[in-house]
Amino acid sequence: MLRYALLRLLGAIPTLLLVIVLAFLMVHAAPGGPFDDERVLPPETAAALAEAYNLDEPLHRQLFNYLSGLVRGDLGPSYRYRDYTVGELIGHAFPVSLKLGAMAMLLAAVVGVATGSFAALRRNTMLDRVVMTFAMTGISIPVFVVAPVLVLLFAVKLQWLPAGWSGNDGAARFLLPVIALALPQIAYIARLTRASMIDVLATDFIRTARAQGLGTSAIIRYHALRPAMLPVLSYMGPAIAAVLTGSVVVEEIFGIPGLGQFFVRGALNRDYTLVLGIVVFYATLVVLLNLIVDILYGFIDPRIRQR
């Protein structure tokens, strides 16, 4: 098991390196520098700025500097928020996004698996069809449509919940953003669970369990759930990426000061180092989380480890 985990970890390193180099080159291939503004800088000032940020060195030196900075956990200075480093900005904003994302993932996993199993047990009934139509709708409708409509309904019209982040505290302000973020994932996980649960329920070992007189809930809990979870678990990687992407929109709509909001601001302000830093950070996060999912997969399904 340890060997498997270590091998996986080693395999992730080239991926990460590729991502970082790619993102770095993309930013540096951009026409125009980070200090291009409406007013033209005098050449001396431009040269001094370039020197201060090491932009006058050849590209491979800059890349090397960036990579060696990364190893030390240094993502460089922000071009727009002049008093902060990118690392500080991420450290400041990420906890909020993490909380939001973790809650959404948890909600999606619990509700999705429950709904999917429920539909699988009542396969081809009216209830199953209704649930699956809802799931299809949930998958199709993007977060940036769901979120504003939820705000319009629950915050503007009914006034049950706060629409914004600032000026409110407590759990209530988390409710709408988390639901908006989780909804598409609930739908997807429900569909996956239903499909794989139906497959599992048709296998011989379930028939045997049933023949021994086990009740439905015991069959699900002790025999069917674990094998049925495998496709769901392998969806966790893409789900994490989707939730991170969705949180960019959700943070924008609800005015949550998380990493996604910084990312969009940085993108609109052409704050290259900040945007690059956040992409590198997110990519690392996603690769690491995928790694954890892979290892968990090995835990749940011993057949994978043997290979």
Binding site: A23, S140, I141, P142, P148, T245, A283
Partner: protein
């Protein structure tokens, strides 16, 4: 030819295909014809008539926006742009995906292993962030949006096509072509590719909604289609800013976007059933 009529017949019998296909066709036709017969155009502002609620008077059935522009014409323009971007982006992803998948599947061996490992690697990345990075680094223009969206949606296509190619290359007609000295490139494009059409059609139907999603996501954030041009994503964004006083500005484009995406997804699912039925016969 018989196979084709067979498929068409099965599609006609499938209610989901007929319903969602019909609804999509209606939306597209209205989106093209609507602006032509409307007395308004998408640029014309009217400062005496800001945020006017939908009314039949003056043909402003979707009301006006915060600059007094006619929302119906702008929404229809948005549908046109969204569809255009989605279709072109899907073609881009189709070209990349089919070429890549067919080469990997046909050449096989170590080349295949390396190529598919690369696809697996890309799968794990938060792609939307790279697209945003791309939009930041370069000027935002239509062409870039097409390419960027196409470039992130080709992975599924490549996987599917590779799988099909693997089985196709063992068939007699490919062996015959190889024996008569046809070049590898020609075998891939003239002998393998035409046989992939079935799967490709199904996956294009499923790629289009994904492309729509990416485009409207970018436009929603202000990184995609720029004013005065518009798309459904940009309209939803504009609607969010006016939602307290003028909820129609949010609800109309949001509903349209949702309906279009839902139709494409239903269509894609149903198409898969139609083509699967053929293979399992």
């Amino acid at each position: 030819m018989r196979a084709l009529t067979d498929i068409l017949a099965r599609m006609r019998r499938n209610r989901a295909v007929v319903l969602s296909g019909g609804l999509l066709a209606t939306i597209v036709i209205v989106a093209i014809i609507g602006p032509m017969i409307s007395p308004h155009d998408y640029l014309q502002t009217d400062f005496d008539n800001l945020l006017h609620p939908p009314s039949a008077a003056g043909m402003q059935i979707f009301g006006t926006d915060d600059l007094g522009r006619d929302s119906f014409v702008r929404t229809m323009l948005g549908v046109q742009v969204t569809m255009l971007v989605a279709i072109v982006a899907s073609v881009v992803s189709l070209l990349i995906g089919v070429t890549y998948g067919a080469i990997a599947g046909y050449v096989g061996g170590r080349v295949d292993a390396v190529m598919m490992r690369f696809v697996d690697t890309l799968y794990a990345l938060p792609f939307m962030f790279f697209v945003i990075l791309l939009m930041v680094a370069f000027e935002r223009n239509f062409l870039l949006i097409f390419v960027a969206i196409g470039a992130i949606n080709w992975l599924d296509m490549a996987r599917i096509v590779r799988g099909q190619t693997l089985s196709l290359r063992e068939r007699e007609f490919v062996a015959a072509a190889r024996l008569t000295g046809v070049s590898t490139a020609r075998i891939i494009f003239r002998h393998i590719a035409p046989n992939l059409i079935g799967v490709v059609i199904v996956y294009v139907t499923l790629t289009i909604p994904q492309a729509i999603l990416v485009e409207s996501f970018l436009s929603f954030l202000g990184l995609g289609i720029q004013e005065p041009q518009t798309s459904l994503g940009a309209l939803v964004d504009a609607g969010v800013n006016q939602m307290e006083g003028a909820s129609w500005m949010l609800l109309i484009p949001a509903t349209l976007l949702a309906v279009i995406l839902l139709c494409f997804n239903f269509l894609g699912d149903a198409m898969r059933d139609v083509f699967d039925a053929r293979s399992s016969r």
